[in-house]
Each structure stands twice: as structure tokens, then as C-alpha cells.
Chain length 134, copies 2
């Protein structure tokens, strides 16, 4: 894995740390400020634009109903100044397959798109052994 992939995976990890901590300000820092941003929450219609996307995250994170979540099986795919990560979101009762797209803003990788889709029971790969970060 090269340094760029590690940087992208760190940006991805920051997203899940903000989610797990229910920290709306940290979540806002994850998302791009200069690129267009879009988000598709499970079951929701497409949300477009930083204001609408961040409002949705504030609503989710501050509702008291945000699930405990962790990220596993993350893989980064770098395409120049854009990269996308696929991963599993492990939540109580199941897993989702997620895509997180990042673009460079200056030296940082910022999120421009997030989408998560529930995986049907029985369709999921095994998780790595406990203690491994990915």
C-alpha cells in the first residue's frame, strides 16, 4: 500500500471517528468545502450540496439514534486527485457496504460523496480477526 492510499484511508477513518463520536463539527471538517458534495444515506433520497449534507449529519448525530458504528475491510482506490474507499460499516444487527469518495483540497483529502447500502444477511464476507485495524 502506498502513501497516498494510506492518506485516503486516514481520511476515511476520520469520517468514521466523527460518526462514532457523534461529533458534528468533526464531521463537517471531513467534507469538502470547494468541491460539490453529495450523500445517499440508507433509504434516503440523494442529498446534494454541503449545507444540505451537513444538516443531515447534524440531524443524525444529534438525534440520539445514531447507531454504534465501526469500519472494516476498507480498500482505497486512487484515481489521481480523486479516490474512493469501499468498506463495511458494522452496526448493531448487520453490516452495510459503503463507498466514500474523496478529492484533494490543497494537501487534504476531503469527502465529496458517501453512500451506504445494507448487505443482505448471509451475503457478507467474514470480518478480519479482532485487533487488526482493517
Amino acid at each position: 500500500m502506498d502513501a497516498t492510499e494510506l492518506d485516503v484511508l486516514e481520511a476515511n477513518a476520520a469520517f468514521y471517528r466523527a460518526f462514532e463520536a457523534r461529533h458534528a463539527a468533526a464531521m463537517a471538517r471531513v467534507w469538502a468545502e470547494h468541491h460539490p458534495v453529495v450523500c445517499i444515506h440508507p433509504g434516503w433520497d440523494v442529498l446534494a450540496g454541503r449545507d444540505q449534507v451537513l444538516a443531515s449529519w447534524r440531524s443524525i448525530l444529534e438525534s440520539g439514534n445514531a447507531p454504534d458504528i465501526s469500519c472494516s475491510l476498507a480498500e482505497a482506490h486512487v484515481l489521481g486527485d480523486v479516490a474512493f474507499v469501499t468498506c463495511h460499516e458494522v452496526v448493531p444487527g448487520g453490516r452495510l457496504a459503503a463507498t466514500n469518495v474523496f478529492a484533494r483540497e490543497g494537501r487534504a483529502w476531503r469527502m465529496v460523496h458517501h453512500q451506504a447500502t445494507p448487505i443482505a444477511p448471509g451475503q457478507t464476507r467474514p470480518l478480519p480477526p479482532a485487533g487488526q485495524p482493517n
Copy 2:
């Protein structure tokens, strides 16, 4: 809308034409040959690699169970040599929110990622009037 966005939307339309026609060879032409490709079908785990992704499409398109599908509300977001489209997939009984990511290969925009997530009933925007392409 600029010429690049139109090119990206045409690549997106070619994907749905191949899907609607159950045309596995046309579907194969949509997907990138030189970039990494990933696909998340609804309810499935992540599929990675051109061989695995195209095999999944052959299985779906040749099964006789592929749904009638059309694309609506497509919007292109261009980030240099990468672009992503969000749209609705209209299928019998409902709609899905989809993301299709494209990257340039030579002069063509080729698909590197597809993900579709069912939208919960009551959460969908109205479709445009019949006769409008988008």
C-alpha cells in the same frame, strides 16, 4: 451544463441502455479496462475487479430476472478526470438512489464504480414530467 458534463451523462445513459437491453457485451464496454473497478449491487457485498464485476452483470442480465429499469434525475459532478453521477433507478415497485463513478480512459469516460440503494417509500422526489430525458 457544459460539454464534459454532457459526455459523462452520455456514458451514464449507455450504462442504463445496456442494463435495460440485458446486453452483457454492451455492459462490458461501459466499464473501465485500465482503472480499478468496484460494484455494489443492492444487498450484495462489494465486488472488486473487472472480471468479478462483469461476471456479476452477466449473471444478472442473462438470468431472465433483470428488472425493467430506467434512469431519471441524473446529475453529473466532474472532478477533473473523474466524475460521478447520482440518479434514480426506476424499477417496478420503487426507486433506487444510484451513484455511478466514471474515469477518463483516453477520450472515453468509463465506469469504475456503481452502487444502488433502495429508497424507502415516501422518501422520493417527484419524477420529471414524461417526455423529458432527465
